[in-house]
Symmetry: none
Subunit: 211 residues, 2 copies
């Protein structure tokens, strides 16, 4: 699995979909249950699991009952002791009912999940679906000068870019910069350094899809 830019990574499987602002208490949805399932599936008692993991049996109990939020160290001990692998721990053994063959996620204009950065104003699309092959997002390019970048943006994968409005200068590591206007598009390897700058008076808007 290729690395994608961090902010593109999907996290829906762990959290209730909550686009309301901030505070929402972020709790691992049922990490405890998951641990208990795994332990029981191996026919282990708390005592045995305790010996295997090095965590006190009381601690295990509390984790399973979600009375505490284990430290990262504790999670590691669990993983190591019970031979869990990470995705197993964090992935809900979800309803595979619609066979994953029939998913659909609509995002209305402006209803994506905002993700601001100093240079870009991203709006993540289709955030209801996890484990997608592609990550689509709409971006307002606030930068108007190359100087605002300290360095190339660079990550794994391939990217498709379509200019929705305005115009941009498309900088890439191995090519001459090229100006793109509304309707133009580009496809490129993300390991190659890249960056966008608005050249229109108004911030340009682009649609981006990463895979």
């Amino acid at each position: 699995m290729p690395d994608k830019p961090a902010f593109l990574k999907e996290n829906q499987q762990f959290f209730s979909v909550n686009r309301d602002n901030a505070e929402a208490i972020v709790e691992p949805l049922e990490l405890g249950k998951r641990v208990r399932e795994i332990r029981l599936s191996q026919n282990l008692t708390l005592e045995e699991a305790s010996k295997l993991t090095g965590l006190a049996r009381s601690t295990l109990s509390k984790i399973e009952n979600e009375q505490i939020s284990p430290t990262f160290t504790a999670v590691n001990k669990l993983v190591k002791g019970l031979g869990i692998d990470i995705p197993q721990l964090f992935t809900q053994p979800k309803k595979k009912s619609p066979a994953s063959g029939g998913r659909r996620d609509i995002t209305r204009r402006g209803e994506g999940k905002p993700h601001p950065t100093p240079t870009y104003e991203h709006e993540l699309l289709a955030t209801q679906l996890s484990s997608k092959k592609m990550i689509p997002f709409k971006t307002t390019v606030r930068t108007h000068s190359w100087d605002e970048y300290q360095d190339w943006i660079r990550h794994d994968g391939e990217e498709f870019l379509y200019v929705l409005s305005g115009s941009i200068m498309f900088y890439t590591e191995f090519y001459e910069p090229i100006e793109l206007v509304a309707g133009d598009s580009a496809y490129y390897d993300c390991e190659m350094g890249h960056a966008l700058v608005s050249t229109s008076k108004k911030d340009a808007e682009v649609l981006w899809v990463t895979a």
Copy 2:
């Protein structure tokens, strides 16, 4: 400079990310470093990351410097706030494969490769590149009535759809039809039957990306 916390001393921890694999890939984990990389890759300061995650900036600093072992709750806030996905946290960033690397393909407005069908007028984009992960194309939806389809369109993969102009009715096999207007988007599994019909007077234009 305080002593390293206990969890780092006792914890020359390595763990398996993939146990199915005979020689499981075992790596030392340096959560703090990873977090810092990710944060910096997004050009965020501790202060900004703090706002995004709800964790104190001092806490973030300590996590990044591996002075503390974050609780699972904290990890979740990180994940949500920075848009990380969990496995990413547990895997070392891959070394760049010397593979394809630095390709780029620009398609000017209207300069794509035409591909007409009875119902759609496709314009394939980025046709200079082969072996892409995604296939982008711009389509004019000429159909104005469902009757013009004999059957569902159905094929492998996943598709992302963005309405550039006009409006369409988006029919899918397992959902009620839904109208999409300029700026709306959809992501769906292509094995599920699907079809578009223009509902605006003028033929609607959509951008499609398949993977």
